[in-house]
């Protein structure tokens, strides 16, 4: 009898310990970057381009580049993703075709990011002749986050009670008006959460932009969407692995990693807070 309870305490202890270790791992990584990266952060770090063959100066062009790529990615994936989700949940008759489409979307979500990079290279850069550019990189990232956005939007739409739709339709309101005036406003916070998580994902990805958009170094800021850009994740990779000044540029690497992680986790945190606020306010 005692053994049964002892075994339970032992198990609970192990379970708690593993949860604790995961939390410590996250906090440890963040703390480590904070402590080491903090020294590199200054006003100049944000406003200056790299100088002295990337051993000094700031990361301004990389911040600008990541901004363009992320905005471009969302401009592609948000409309396409939300419309696809509306079609899948509101219009399509549930059957074999929808099942295949859903499997397609699931599989798209599981494709490794480097394969998206290869696709972007083969299709946008080479076949459509965009070259390595903001346009090619944004489109590649946009397709990468598309499944995330479709998934989140679908879930948000499904969470709107069926009675809302029925009440509207019973009043003689057309289907599109029901969707645009009743369903979408109720689902908006959920869709927004998904979109914000998509932004975070797009901003932090490296492999998809390596061959489609990212430049080692650009002396000037991009002038059009057909220019190459520097980007924060790629900049970290380049500084940490390539060149002859790896040890010398350590502070810059820590600083860039800190900026990237603050950006991405900040974006994710906004989504998490938004979602919990919405959940608490929910009236149905």
């Amino acid at each position: 009898m005692k053994w049964r309870y002892f075994r339970q305490s032992l198990f609970f202890g192990v379970v708690r310990l593993s949860a604790l270790i995961i939390t410590i791992a996250l906090l440890g990584i963040i703390a480590f970057l904070l402590v080491n990266g903090f020294k590199a952060i200054s006003m100049d770090f944000f406003t200056l381009p790299p100088t002295d063959s990337m051993t000094k100066g700031g990361i301004m062009p990389a911040i600008v580049g990541t901004f363009y790529l992320t905005v471009g990615a969302i401009a592609v994936s948000l409309p396409l993703g939300v419309v696809s989700a509306i079609y899948l949940t509101e219009y399509a008759k549930q059957g074999r075709f929808i099942r295949i489409m859903r499997i397609g979307v699931n599989c798209l979500a599981g494709v490794p990011s480097v394969v998206f990079g290869l696709f972007g290279l083969g299709f946008f850069v080479v076949f459509l002749k965009f070259g390595s550019s903001i346009l090619a990189g944004s489109l590649t990232l946009g397709i990468l986050v598309l499944p995330t956005i479709i998934g989140a939007a679908e879930e948000a739409l499904k969470a709107v009670p069926q009675t809302f739709r029925e009440a509207s339709l019973a009043l003689g309101v057309s289907k599109w008006k029901t969707i645009s005036r009743i369903v979408l406003p109720s689902a908006l916070p959920g869709i927004l959460t998904g979109a914000i998580l998509g932004v975070g994902r797009a901003a932090g990805e490296t492999a998809p932009i390596m061959f489609t958009a990212a430049a080692f170094f650009t002396a000037i800021l991009p002038k059009s969407i057909f220019d190459e850009v520097m980007a924060l994740p790629y900049h970290i990779y380049v500084l940490a692995t390539a060149g002859t000044h790896i040890e010398q540029t350590r502070p810059l690497q820590y600083g860039t990693a800190l900026v990237l992680i603050a950006l991405v986790l900040g974006i994710d945190l906004i989504a998490i807070v938004l979602r919990s606020v919405v959940r608490r306010k929910k009236r149905w």
Binding site: F123, A240, A257
Partner: protein, 295 residues
């Protein structure tokens, strides 16, 4: 325009856009194969998959990716050996044991962990774990299988944890109550009732976690060491497939054998992850439809 005409136009427009989303998956497949298949004019598929010499820049070049496949499999399996216990146990904690407040915090922790950019994890592995490992275990290099597996595990834990948690949470309360009514302890209920009932969801979680690990690029590019040889031990360097693609694509001339070989490596990676995802999809569907009464 009449309202009816507008309805029809909107419906069809939406259908078209939804179709485009799925078409993109088709395009990915099409372009991967278009750029990858030409390598098989130079060498046979068996030579490509099972040839153990990867010297794409030599003259004559050799395009055998067996050591890359082995590298990928080893880091994936090892990372899952680490990630599965942590992912599953944390899911059990969140869904069955934790008080409400801690539960919310821990869920956010898992989500933030999932959001960590892979390049940052790779960087962490390079500058912290690698030197530490090299010194502690007296190794020639800290960039090796163990280091890569640990960092990959950090990436796979959130996937495994959040999907397992959904599965555990979905187990009907009746099951638990019936178990308690029979005098079972909470531990016995979790291990003998809840986990078996959620097993299909947990398997899906593990498969998707593996899929995530095998396709992850930046971590293995930065910390696996990059040696394209069959490893002899877990402290050897390897060159998993994604690392090879990412590292070499920049230098491979467009249309060269090397270029096509890297795309073909991408095809192999794509097929493996596709298979993982289809299996996971199959498992979760097969068991979901039958309701809470099946184990």
């Amino acid at each position: 325009m009449t309202s009816k005409a507008r309805e029809i136009i909107i419906k069809n427009l939406f259908a078209l856009l939804a179709f485009i989303s799925v078409l993109l998956l088709g395009l990915i497949v099409l372009f991967l194969f278009r750029e990858g298949l030409p390598i098989f004019k130079q060498i046979s598929m068996a030579q490509f998959l099972f040839g153990s010499a990867w010297y794409p820049t030599y003259d004559p070049p050799e395009y055998g990716i067996w050591s890359l496949i082995v590298g990928s499999v080893i880091v994936t399996v090892l990372s899952c050996l680490i990630a599965v216990p942590f992912g599953l146990l944390s899911a059990i904690y969140i869904s069955e044991i934790a008080p409400a407040g801690i539960k919310e915090i821990l869920k956010s922790v898992i989500e933030l962990l999932a959001g960590l950019p892979s390049v940052v994890l790779g960087f962490f592995g390079m500058v912290i774990l690698a030197p530490w490992m090299q010194e502690t275990f007296d190794l020639p290099t800290g960039l090796n299988i163990v280091n890569a597996s640990l960092m990959l595990a950090v990436m796979a834990i959130p996937t495994i944890s959040s999907i397992s948690e959904d599965a555990l949470y979905a187990v009907s309360r009746d099951f638990k109550e019936a178990s308690y009514a029979l005098g079972a302890t909470k531990y016995e209920t979790i291990v003998k009732v809840v986990i078996p009932a959620a097993l299909s969801g947990i398997s899906t979680a593990v498969i998707l976690g593996m899929s995530r690990a095998i396709g992850e690029t930046m971590v293995v590019l930065m910390v696996a060491g990059g040696s394209a040889a069959i490893p002899r031990g877990i402290f050897d360097s390897v060159r998993p497939m994604p690392a090879s693609i990412a590292a070499e694509m920049g230098e491979a001339a467009f249309g060269s054998g090397h270029y096509h070989a890297l795309f073909a490596t991408g095809i192999v990676l794509f097929i493996i992850t596709l298979a993982f995802n289809l299996i996971a999809d199959h498992i979760s569907n097969r068991f979901k439809e039958e309701g809470s009464g099946t184990l």
